[in-house]
């Protein structure tokens, strides 16, 4: 498995990177950790003439928590997410999810930006970012713009990011309530057979608000608005949970693959969601 030749660029500012992307055109790709991209390149499933490596851009790194606002630089690694105590306090679901991504070596290198930006429906962070209602910060030749994670994903590997735009950061409001990321996978290093991100806020014993997103059950992550609404205002009884599950099943569209037939995945998605709701509620 040998990649085809390419030219390599290592800009040290976002502006330089954006300019490079604009100058180099279609055949240029940004590389963060590269642990999704490099295997594809080694199998010669992509055609890339220029790689723009973001590793030297300090502005893309780090986790900042300002009041309730959490901002994570795109080049922050999974390992850094796992090890950040303040983040674990503000949004423990990120650590819970990051620990279930790939394996230790990959987590040292894999970044949150790469995970959310490349549009792979198997990645764990996109669904989680939708659950958190995160905002993606993009920078392109025409300047900076923001887009909601919930509006970002169009199809497998197709997102609202233009080819010459770079994801610089992700921000969200630290959620109130209990959170859970539950993932079923075949083994270490695997993508989810089904995974659910759930945040549940409670007041007076009832669910006051809920957000639910599912991973690897469609060609994009699926934020299930109706499923969250089914829980909001309810006492989280069995019937309420089943309403949420039904609402979730109505919007996912899993396909047959090596992990199993679609019917199995639908069943598993329901089981995983029930468990995630239970776990989040118990933490609320």
């Amino acid at each position: 498995m040998i990649p085809a030749p390419f030219d390599y660029h290592r800009p040290d500012t976002v502006e330089a990177a954006v300019k490079l992307m604009a100058d180099l055109g279609d055949s240029a790709r940004v590389i963060a950790g590269g642990h999704s991209l490099i295997p594809l390149m080694k199998m010669r499933m992509t055609d890339i003439a220029h790689l723009v490596d973001l590793q030297k851009i300090g502005a893309l790194k780090g986790i900042a928590i300002d009041g309730d606002t959490v901002t994570i630089g795109a080049m922050t690694t999974q390992q850094e997410l796992i090890g950040n105590a303040a983040l674990a306090g503000a949004a423990p679901i990120i650590r819970e999810a990051a620990l279930q991504i790939a394996d230790p070596q990959v987590r040292y290198v894999g970044t949150i930006g790469g995970n959310v930006a490349n549009g792979d429906p198997g990645n764990d962070m996109p669904g989680l970012m939708q659950c958190l209602d995160a905002t993606y910060h993009l920078q392109g030749p025409d300047g900076a713009r923001e887009i909601k994670a919930r509006d970002f994903y169009e199809a497998a590997y197709f997102t609202a990011r233009a080819d010459d735009e770079i994801l610089t950061a992700i921000s969200f409001q630290a959620p109130a309530g209990g959170q859970a990321y539950v993932k079923q996978k075949r083994k270490t290093g695997d993508y989810a057979t089904a995974a659910a991100s759930v945040i549940i806020a409670k007041s007076d014993g009832n669910c006051s608000a809920a957000s639910i997103a599912m991973t690897n059950l469609s060609d994009t992550p699926v934020w299930c608005e109706a499923a969250g609404q089914a829980l909001a205002g309810s006492p989280l009884g069995e019937a309420d949970v089943e309403n949420a599950v039904r609402a979730m099943l109505a919007v996912i569209n899993p396909q047959d693959d090596n992990k199993g037939p679609a019917e199995f995945k639908r069943h598993t998605a329901a089981v995983i969601l029930r468990r995630a709701i239970e776990r989040a509620a118990s933490r609320a």
């Binding site: 290592r10 490099i38 295997p39 230790p104 070596q105 990959v106 290198v109 290093g189």
Partner: protein, 163 residues
């Protein structure tokens, strides 16, 4: 798409070489620098046989371009101990029969080296989770886990004695 000038520190020694950007770090180490401890097993970041320590992180060198590694400080199994001064992990892998064919061993020990720095007193479960980026086809891991726990105990004993 010519070759680029790449500077690395490998096992404490500065190294300069010319490489195509696409050359993988594992090939640079093995072919250019004749450091053949790290091995190629799967080429898709699953097996960990190519694990090296890069800037204080365990990485799979089959999935790092030489160009990305430019400027990095790399430690391989060859840099962990000497024949006269083995690293405790090297001793414990032998002592507890933590290897058979030896092909995964350099990556396994190099990963364990970083793991124990981050978690010097791990439980068995933590060892298994921390080592889950490295595949072994021979040992069934039980003796690898035992060797790492024994190395941790030994390192801690040495540390305590020093204090």
């Amino acid at each position: 798409m010519g070759k680029m000038h790449i500077k690395l520190t490998v096992n404490g020694k500065p190294v300069e070489l010319l490489a195509e950007p696409r050359e993988l770090l594992i090939h640079v180490l093995r072919e250019e620098l004749s450091i053949t401890g790290p091995h190629i097993g799967c080429e898709t970041t699953h097996c960990g046989a190519c694990t090296v320590d890069m800037d204080g992180r365990s990485v799979k060198s089959c999935t790092v371009f030489a160009a990305q590694a430019d400027g990095a400080n790399v430690t391989t199994i060859e840099g962990l101990g000497t024949p006269d001064g083995l690293h405790v992990l090297q001793t414990m892998f032998k002592e507890h029969h933590g290897l058979q064919c030896g092909f995964c061993t350099p990556g396994m020990i190099t990963r364990a080296y970083r793991f124990l720095q981050e978690n010097p007193d791990p439980t068995e479960e933590e060892v298994r989770f921390g080592m889950s980026g490295n595949l072994c086809r021979c040992t069934g891991y039980q003796n690898i886990v035992k060797a790492i726990l024994a190395a941790a105990a030994e390192l801690n004993a040495v540390k305590e004695a020093a204090q």
